[in-house]
Symmetry: C2
Subunit: 258 residues, 2 copies
């Protein structure tokens, strides 16, 4: 969505391309150096922030739609998006919400008010996690800003999006026990301290610095390389890499960490 005409056309004719009544909203978590952040964006005509979201094309499957939506809105590519829950109910979008009224002002009241966009919509929730230092979100025409928010300073969001953030974080934390999600956040070669920090930060609790990496090694999820990293006046840590085979097996079977 990069020109005004495209936007107008979307409001009037979008229902021909997209399936009405159904949207996808994505909670994109960003990790870097002991910090966990969430990507929030603000749409034209809205006062409050929201999660990046959009509609599903009639030719797409759900996972592809989620990937495309994130790419369009934030220019982030290559995310491993995970469906976690679908939200619905008549209370999801409130007609007398100040933001909804605001939106109507921006593009003539009637046009939006009577458009397919304003009908009741259920939303499929997806989440993903990435390294926020490697990713510069780029807002498109419809999105005014698009930024990383500290996870414990997420503002009051539109609709039921705060609930989505809470439930997606729960899902992410649960998944962390079953899938080696950290692979998405680390370079090919990493130290035990780095992977330890990721798990502590995402789970929001301390994990023993000795026992936790030992378990990862014991399970065979990571392999020690014959290589060290220079970290100044301290003992140089060994570097490790993920074991692709065991990783794949863990994805199928599930593993309990922590």
């Amino acid at each position: 969505m990069n020109t005004l005409e495209e936007l107008e056309d979307f409001i009037e004719n979008g229902y021909k391309t997209y399936i009405p009544h159904i949207s996808i909203d994505c909670a994109i978590f960003g990790y870097h150096d002991h910090q966990l952040k969430l990507l929030i964006s603000r749409l034209k005509g809205f006062d409050r922030f929201c999660l990046p979201g959009g509609y599903i094309k009639r030719t797409e499957n759900l996972d592809d739609a989620a990937t495309r939506i994130v790419e369009e809105r934030t220019a982030i590519t290559g995310l491993y998006l995970q469906q976690y829950k679908t939200f619905g109910g008549p209370e999801r979008i409130k007609w007398n919400d100040p933001d909804t009224i605001n939106l109507m002002k921006v593009h003539g009241y009637e046009k939006i008010r009577s458009s397919w966009l304003m009908d009741q919509t259920i939303s499929i929730g997806y989440y993903a996690i990435t390294d926020f230092s490697l990713v510069k979100p780029q807002p498109d025409l419809m999105t005014i800003t698009c930024e990383w928010s500290d996870i414990d300073k997420v503002p009051d969001l539109l609709f039921d999006h705060n609930k989505m953030v809470k439930e997606s974080l729960q899902a992410l934390r649960l998944q962390l026990y079953y899938y080696p999600i950290a692979e998405k956040l680390l370079p090919k070669k990493f130290s035990l301290t780095e992977i330890h920090a990721i798990y502590e930060t995402i789970l929001g609790k301390t994990l023993d610095m000795r026992n936790f990496p030992k378990k990862l090694i014991f399970l065979g999820l990571i392999n020690r390389l014959n290589e060290k990293r220079n970290i100044g006046p301290h003992r140089a840590p060994y570097l490790y890499s993920f074991n692709a085979k065991k990783y794949k097996k863990a994805l199928e079977k599930g593993i309990t960490l922590g």
Copy 2:
């Protein structure tokens, strides 16, 4: 849906009451005496069986809709339905499917073909488990039959419903480790042998007859009563009951069994 007029009206005007493009499909598992079954039904005009499903009213939230749909189609009440995944994509419903063509014949081709029901639909998957000996499913007007099928003899179902069965069973088995689902399948007072059989049957694997109940007792999920049951010429087993408090706590925190 109990009269023909209601059905005709649903086809023509249903989109005013229900949200189009979105349906709910429920995988209802039934357990009794070492057997696991699945509830399947056959709709008027269709050759193949399918999962009980329906549409969401504009005034309902998703969980309530799932409960109502099961009640309408099968007359089963009081289920604890659990959302597990949403299915979508252009491949879900095939236009040249023999069953779809069959359906069109039943109520004049054009009427159905051009109705809101034939537009692309995503489906929200729910599952539940109940004791199939206590429940007599009652088909409504739209549903011709409604019966329990052995879990390993489920026939070729409509659309992507076989995939739904597979994924809902996976979800159920995973949940079994976190939630004391068996409470729904047992009388207030039960023996260790009974609860042991439920877990073995649902998980499809053997669990040690001594260690498994010991763990349930150790966790405090069940309490021994001062009561035994007469089972003929054998040692009378003690009866047990669920510990509502611990059960509630387990629901929040999650517990690993098995």
